[in-house]
Amino acid sequence: MRMLKVDHMTIRFGNLIAVNDVSLEVRENMITALIGPNGAGKTTLFNGVSGVYNPNDGDIIFCEESIKGRRPSYIHNIGISRTYQIINLFTEMPVIDNVIVGMHGDLKSNFFDSLFHTKRHRAEERECYEKAHELLKFVGLDDKAYEAAGSLPYGAQRRLEIVRALASNPKLLLLDEPAAGMNSKEKEELDAILREIVKRWQLSILIVEHDMDLVMGISDYIYVLSFGKKIAEGIPEEIQNDPNVIEAYLGGDD
């Protein structure tokens, strides 16, 4: 079933067309990848989907609802969670609090529950911490739960961003270059983590990534962008042999 549909999306910055009439689909329980050379507009497209930018044209349909022009907090709360290309953690907060902030939209305690620590609030907090510890165990960070997030090594910060995004039980996870800056061992771990996420959480992933081994290994379907335009789509084997894609990556004659 279709989960997300980006319908002829265009995003302009002045005269620059960062995303030019791009359409793509993400299906349930699948990993869809978005690749392309630097500056192809992948992150801009992500920002268009997650509400950071409001697309100039086109539409975004998530679970039969148009989310174009909605605020990022709204989009997050209806089930699209994301990570960032440049790590975007709450660096001075403990690792575990980063994860719990990710649950913010699911928590029912209101202002006065929080102020007076009512029974409901205490029960909810206990649940939160248990769930957060579980999530941290899943990516091997539980022993660092009370350290400042900014003090973690780079690869661990990336993994923390992923579980923070998972904390809200999203239907769709947008990962923006999760393997950037990781060494090969960390990349292997990431590969396993992503597969496990799809299986355990029953969600879809849309991933932007430059590491071709990772992308070709885990993706069910791939879209290729170049200079803001979609130049190819298909299963990994098709993409690997597509002359347009090879030209875009290696550079053509013109």
């Binding site: 997650s50 950071v52 605020r71 990022p72 907090s73 997050h76 709360n77 994301r82 960032y84 975007n88 953690l89 709450f90 660096t91 001075e92 907060m93 609090d97 719990i100 902030v101 990710g102 913010h104 939209g105 928590l107 305690s109 202002f111 529950d113 929080s114 102020l115 007076f116 620590h117 609030h121 909810e124 907090e125 911490y129 009370y146 923070r164 809200s168």
Partner: protein, 325 residues
């Protein structure tokens, strides 16, 4: 939210002396009065810490909200005859509501623009106090206030005021700690550290910025109302925008974004303020220098630097232990 052990509470044992201070200092009623002021400023600084220390919104309107609480309580009492103890609460709620209304448009602003709008707000309040409609605030002449009474007993003595203030301070400080260690507190911190990511995590940042202003308005207004009924006479200069800086210094000296920073900062700066009382013309100079010193050399305030020191000593001990073994 680590493991709670009994040892953790041992360090708070010295605090038990506080309720006995007025008895110890019974002969020096001036010192007891100072303690009452400490309570008031601790409450205000605690509210300021929620706004600035946790949600990251700077404000130069603290003296203005202090004034809303003070004049609010005095005038409501004067014109309706509601007991002072209730008007304090009503004035605090009024101050909270005004803060919420003010915050709604202002929550869009950051940094310099936020500072400017809060300064302007303080000017507006100051103007309203000094040129009030019908002169109800006594304008530049000030206004005499009634004392707090409870069950027919007047808290005219500083001692009785101290205990009343102490109860209020404890309740408000504990509520602040509760609020900070909750969903709302985490949202405040998330917005302060990374507004962009906070929004991406589903936090409606404007809503929480407005909440933070509301809490601040309540605390500062409450403190202002207590102040009015402690000193017995209020006049506009206490609520001028320069006084707002005093509250910021208290928060920064103690340490922003910490449970006990406002308590320590409020106490130390108030006592210092009193010591400087004899050199009033140099007060602002000293504050300015103090503020710069803290911003440059001790950005974490006394609490922050203290924590760093303890961490250093601990790690040094560990190193020593490793060397020995």
């Amino acid at each position: 939210m680590g493991k709670v052990s009994n040892k953790k509470y041992l360090k708070y044992l010295p605090l038990l002396i506080i309720p006995f201070l007025p008895l110890i200092l019974a002969k020096y009623s001036y010192l007891v009065m100072l303690l009452c002021f400490v309570e008031i400023y601790v409450i205000a600084t605690t509210g300021l810490d929620v706004l600035y220390g946790y949600s990251g919104q700077i404000t130069f309107a603290t003296a203005g909200f202090f004034g809303i609480g003070a004049y609010g309580s005095v005038l409501i009492h004067k014109y309706t005859g509601i007991p002072v103890i209730l008007t304090i609460l009503i004035a605090a709620i009024l101050s909270c509501l005004i803060a919420l209304i003010f915050a709604y448009p202002v929550s869009k602003l950051r940094f310099a623009f936020l500072s400017l709008s809060t300064i302007s707000f303080n000017y507006v309040i100051y103007q309203l106090i000094t040129r009030s409609p019908g002169g109800i605030t006594g304008d530049f002449n000030g206004i005499f206030t009634d004392r707090i009474t409870l069950f027919g007993i007047s808290f005219k003595e500083f001692q009785s005021f101290f205990y009343f203030g102490l109860v209020c301070t404890i309740i408000l400080v504990v509520l602040k700690i509760f609020l900070i260690n909750s969903r709302v507190g985490r949202a405040f911190l998330a917005i302060k550290q990374n507004q962009h990511a906070a929004e991406g995590m589903g936090i409606d940042y404007r809503k929480y910025k407005v909440y933070a202003f509301g809490v601040y308005g309540f605390y500062v207004g409450f403190a202002g109302a207590l102040y009015a009924h402690l000193v017995g006479f209020i006049s506009p200069e206490t609520f001028a925008e320069t006084q707002s800086v005093l509250f910021l210094i208290m928060a920064m000296v103690g340490g922003l974004g910490s449970n006990w920073g406002p308590v320590i900062g409020g106490t130390i700066v108030l006592l210092l303020n009193d010591a400087l009382g004899y050199f009033q013309q140099f007060q602002l100079l000293v504050y300015g220098i103090l503020l710069i010193l803290f911003i440059v050399f001790m950005p974490g305030g006394i609490i922050g630097e203290g924590r760093k020191l303890i961490a250093k000593i601990k790690s040094k001990k560990e190193v020593d232990a490793n060397v020995e073994s």
